[in-house]
Structures are given as C-alpha cells and as structure tokens.
C-alpha cells in the first residue's frame, strides 16, 4: 500500500514492487479530480454571474485556505493509518491564545515582540497538543480516534476557559494581515496554503521522513521490523498536523479580527477529512496525496460556492458534500479492490 501518486509523492520503490501500473491508476484518479474541477469551473463560467472576477477568486481562496492547511496535516495523519479529530479544537486554542498575547499589557508595550510571540507561542502550544496525541497513539497504543477524541472534547473547553467564553475582538493590523492581507492581488493565507502544500509535497517525496511515513502507513509491523522509527514518525506527524491546525486557527482569527472559542475551527475535522479523502487519501493509510488534498479542498469549496451563488440554501451543501464523500470513497475503494 505504499504506492503514491507520481505527481504528489512516490512509493518506497522497494523490491517486488510494481510501480508502473499502480502509478498510472493513481494518476488517473488525480486527473479525474482535475477534470472534475475543470468541469466545475466551466459550469460556473456559464452559470454563475461574475465568476471570473478577481473578487470571486479572492473570496474562494480566503475561504478554502484554512481548510486546505488543516487538510494537509490531516492527510499526513491519515497516511499513517490514523485520524485526528482534535484539529478544530486545536484551532480554537491557538486562536484564543494569540489575542491574549498581543493584547496583554506586555504585548502592547512591545508590539513587535508581542506580535512574534502571538504567532510563535500558539503554534508551539498547538504542536504540544500534537505531541500529546502522538504519544498516546504510539507509546500507549491508543486508537487514534480515541486518542484525539480527548483533545476534541477538552481542547475547545480550554480555549473557552482561557477567554472566559467571551468573544475577543481586537484591532491589530499587523496580525490581521495574516487573514486579510493581499499579495499579488490574492489573500495571504492562500499563498501560505499553497506554499505549505509545495513544502509538504516535497517533504513526502524527497525526505526520509516521507518514506518512513508511507511505510508506517503501508504496513506498520513491516516498517518496524525494517528499522523504521515508527513511534517517532507518528509523533512527528501528529505534531505537524496540530501545528498546521494552530496556524489555521491564527488565520481564522485574523480574518475576523475576533476570536470566538466556541466557533473557531468548529467541525473543521470533518472538512479536513473530507478534503483529504476526496483528494485520494485512504483511511487505511499508506498514501499521502498532498496535491490531491489541496485539489480536494478546492473542489469541495467550489461546489459549495457554486450552489450558494446559484441560490441553493446553505444547508443543502451539507447533503452535496456528503454525496461527494461517498462517491470519492467508493471510487477509491473499487480501485483498491482491483
């Protein structure tokens, strides 16, 4: 199960592997997603008024960026055969911490340092959440769903305790740049998501960690017997996923110039899992289609946008997303069986 999309990553290339046919099959899936996306864009050009405006692009990019960032980390976790339910709660924690730091007396006295701390500290805390998840999974052998359920339940509570459940509004232009700034006409967070996608794709393809990751997900026992540091790989993976979630939390808060611990990252775990699965990740592990995940997130976003822009009520998009997930998993499953 260590085969990879040749566009997004590579399998182990070990003895006895027959990469060529598998790779072409996976390519087909990737191309299918690209084709579906292209068809959707064409449909929108015809149907949706003002679809080709730069503003439309900016709105969609700004909405999809947080999902995409979280989904990247989720894809890595899913590649190990796990799942991370805590990402939304970690977003809330990071999002609650940042305004507390730059809004504190110290942060206001040292704006530059305060801003740096307001970005670095929440990311570190988020990373610790990931270390916690990863330790439960790899040292104690707790199933990932259960291990990450703990922070899912209590993480948001921690964020609410930190803020007393209050909506924190703030005005800090340097920080909100993370969510509202534009670079080359497009939202900053879109560039961040794109940059992270490229980095993660390269890491999966080119580094030893990437190879370990796929082998752990492909066959954990075999990987362990072959000398892969399974525990370290898993812990690192959960830490990366949580750090990404923390970053997404910061962006979410920056977009709104407000942090509401009850809302930030709510249901994000579902969106991220959906994006990863539509992108070609399999819950059984062993695959990390990073570009696919980005496209999956974009696809789900665009379907939702298409529906809403054409007067379909917001709620109905849930049902359509459900259908997309079913179709994506079904196609994947039938391919695995062949």
């Amino acid at each position: 199960m260590s085969q990879q999309n040749s566009l997004t990553g590579r399998g182990l290339g070990g003895v006895g592997e027959a990469p060529a046919p598998r790779r072409s099959r996976l390519n087909r899936r990737f191309l299918g997603l690209v084709a579906a996306l292209a068809a959707l864009i064409l449909l929108n050009v015809v149907l949706t008024p003002n679809f080709l405006a730069i503003q439309t692009l900016a709105v969609n990019v700004s909405q999809v960026a947080t999902v995409a960032i979280v989904a990247l980390g989720m894809t890595l976790v899913i590649a190990t055969g796990g799942v991370d339910l805590s990402v939304g709660a970690v977003m809330a924690v990071a999002g609650a911490l940042a305004p507390l730091i730059f809004g504190s007396a110290w942060g206001q006295a040292n704006p530059g340092l305060g801003l740096a701390a307001a970005i670095v500290a929440p990311l570190l805390v988020a990373m610790c959440c990931g270390l916690f998840n990863g330790s439960l999974v790899s040292f104690l052998g707790v199933q990932p769903i259960i291990a990450t359920l703990i922070l899912f339940i209590s993480g948001r509570g921690v964020a609410q305790v930190l803020t007393n459940g209050n909506l924190q509004t703030f005005s800090n232009p340097s920080f909100t740049w993370l969510g509202t700034g534009r670079v080359l006409g497009l939202p900053v967070q879109g560039w961040i998501a794109l940059g992270l996608t490229v980095i993660v794709a390269l890491v999966v393809r080119k580094t030893i960690y990437g190879r370990y990751l796929l082998s752990v997900g492909g066959n954990e026992r075999a990987a362990a017997l072959a000398g892969t540091p399974v525990a370290r790989v898993k812990i690192a993976t959960y830490a990366i996923a949580s750090t990404f979630a923390g970053l997404a939390g910061l962006i979410d808060v920056a977009i709104n110039s407000a942090s509401d611990a009850a809302r930030v990252g709510n249901l994000m775990e579902l969106d991220a899992i959906a994006a990863a699965v539509v992108g070609g990740a399999a819950l059984s592990g062993g695959r990390a289609p990073i570009l696919g995940t980005l496209l999956g997130a974009v696809f789900i976003q665009l379907v939702g946008y298409t529906l809403i822009a054409n007067g379909v009520p917001d709620e109905a998009t849930f049902i359509v997303t459900a259908a997309i997930i079913v179709i994506a998993v079904y196609l994947q499953d039938s391919r695995r069986r062949t």
Binding site: I145, I150, I153, S154, L267, I273, A322, V329, Y330, D333
Partner: protein, 333 residues
C-alpha cells in the same frame, strides 16, 4: 495463560454486569454516587434523580446503539445528526399525537441506519466515511426541513407526555423506554445467534464469513439498531424539551463513543458489554451532575467551560487505566 481458568470463573460471576474488566466502571459509578450523596444535600432528591435520568436516557440510547456498532469493529458518526433530524420530524408531526410522531422519529432513524448499512455492506465503504457522509446529509436535511429554526411541538397533543411524564416521583418514562431498549440489545447479544454473529464479525469478519455466519445480516442489523436508537433519542429530545432542534446533537456521537470506551469496549470490535456501556454513559452524565452540585456549594466556581475540560481529562484517565488493563491481554493475543 495459567490464569485463564480463574479468569473465566470471575467472568461468570460478573456476567450480568458485563464481567471482568467491565466491573471497574460499575465500581466507579457506585463510588461517585456515594460521594455525591455524602457531599450534597439534594443529590438524591427526586428532582435531581428524575431530571438526571430524563436527560441521560438519550445518551444511554445512542451509546447502546454505538456499542453494538463498535462491537462489529465499525463506528457510527451519524447518531447526533440523526437524533437532531428525528427530533425535527417528530416535532413537525407532534400535532398528530405520540402515536404518529414516535414511530415517525424512529423510522427516520431507521432510514438513516439503512443508508449507513447500504453504504457499508452494499458499497463496502469504510464505516467511518460512510457514517460521516450520513451525518452531513442528516444535518443538512434537518436544517432544510426545519428552515434552520427550532420547531416547537404541539403542546395540546399527548406528544410531550413521553418526554415529561414520570412514573412516581423519580422514574421518567424515557428512561423506562431506554431501559427496555437496553434489555432488548442485551438479550439479542447474549442469547441469539444474531448477537453471536455481531461479536464474531468484530473479532474476525473474514473468519466469521468463512464459517458461514451471516455477517452481512449482522452488520445491517447493528446500523439499523443504532439508527433506531438515535431516532428514538431524537423523539425524547423533542418530547422532553418541547422542540425539534436541528442544531442539537453536535458531538453526541463522540460522547457516545466515549461512553462505550469508558464501558471497557475496545474500538477494534469483537468484544464489549451493553450493561457496562450503560454504566459508562451514566458515569459521563454523573460527572456533569456532580460538577453542577459542586458549583452550587460555592466553594469553587467552575464555569461551564471547565466541564468539557474535565470530561476530556476523565476520558484520558479511563483510557490510561484501560491501557494498563488491556496490555496483558493484548500481548497474549
């Protein structure tokens, strides 16, 4: 291996409670109740007991449904959204009385369960993804049907009687119905071939299938059962709290999973106990209840937000205990 005969003996004695390691959860439950009775004046008051049972009857229901699903090695993420949908459906039909609204709510759950079963058994999707999709679809449907509003029930019909009336001062009808469902689930698991198949599927689906067991039937059954439980919980919600609530039930699936885990059932399937799951669900509810009383004493003041933190910590402790208990068994296997 030498300890096994003794182990079996213990299990036989403790079987009615779930046996073996499941006993811990009953002891914890008893200790917490004793603690509450000792520390708080009104803890054992009729009002507290009945409102506790009324509220937690919903969680007992979905947890038992979840328990059966998890025993097969599956998972049902859709229960919270299905309960919300069912509460909306039941509330919309409440003017026609309990005799229409109750079956309609349960039927809603059964339909959702059938969809889950179709996706999992028919299309062979992984349960996690299939029920995730159903969850989204059910949530979307409940929002569409209710137009995003809470749907008020018809107070002139007998619909609210189920959720609000009690037998005597203590026993709400909802917990009686939930207990009946628990008994049915327990009976099916312990006494029927269907129940044996459920456990066999969770232990080793391939082997069960090769032995000629009707594994598909068992899988369809557990998802239907879980759906029906969620549907019934939705009826309780609408009936007991006066409205169909399209946004309620978020995170219920995870609360149910936590209850099942606290009850000593492993997510890998093949084992588990209905009674211990019930105890797990009650234990989770009791932690909330005790915190409310503790706040009432005024010694400490924990905001509502602390409750989820403490619940998570509680789950962590249970898991750490379970890891210790399960290790020897796992290494033997």
């Amino acid at each position: 291996m030498t300890a096994q005969p003794l182990d079996l003996n213990l299990r036989r004695y403790m079987r009615p409670l779930g046996g073996g390691t499941h006993l811990t959860v009953w002891v914890a439950l008893a200790l917490l109740i004793l603690f509450g009775a000792w520390r708080y004046d009104n803890f054992l008051s009729a009002y507290n007991i009945s409102s506790f049972l009324q509220y937690n009857s919903m969680f007992v229901l979905i947890s038992v449904g979840m328990c059966l699903v998890i025993m097969t090695g599956g998972i049902d993420l859709s229960v919270g959204a299905v309960a919300a949908l069912s509460s909306v459906v039941a509330a919309l039909l409440s003017a026609r009385g309990l005799v229409v609204a109750l079956p309609a709510g349960v039927l809603t759950g059964l339909v959702a369960g059938a969809i889950n079963a179709g996706l999992i058994v028919g299309l062979r999707l992984p349960p996690f993804m299939a029920t995730l999709a159903t969850m989204l679809a059910a949530r979307g449907t409940s929002l569409v049907v209710s137009d995003r509003q809470a749907v008020s029930v018809d107070w002139t019909s007998d619909f609210t009687g189920l959720g609000m009336n009690k037998i005597g001062p203590i026993l709400p009808w909802t917990i009686v119905v939930a207990a009946a469902v628990v008994l049915v689930a327990w009976y099916i698991l312990e006494r029927t071939s269907l129940g044996r198949t459920v456990l066999a599927v969770g232990g080793n689906a391939e082997a069960a299938h090769l032995m000629g067991l009707k594994t598909s039937r068992a899988l369809v059954f557990v998802y239907l059962f879980s759906g029906a439980c969620a549907g019934l919980a939705g009826v309780f919600l609408a009936s007991g709290y006066g409205a169909g609530q399209p946004l309620e039930g978020q995170g219920w699936e995870l609360a149910a999973i936590a209850s099942v885990v606290v009850g000593g059932t492993l997510l890998t399937g093949g084992m588990g106990s209905v009674p211990a799951t019930v105890a797990g669900a009650l234990l989770f509810g009791l932690v909330f209840n005790l915190l409310n009383f503790e706040n009432g004493l005024g010694v400490i003041s924990l905001s509502a937000y602390w409750q989820s933190v403490i619940r998570g910590a509680f789950l962590l402790i249970v898991i750490l205990l379970q890891v210790r208990l399960a290790r020897p068994a796992a290494s033997k296997a």
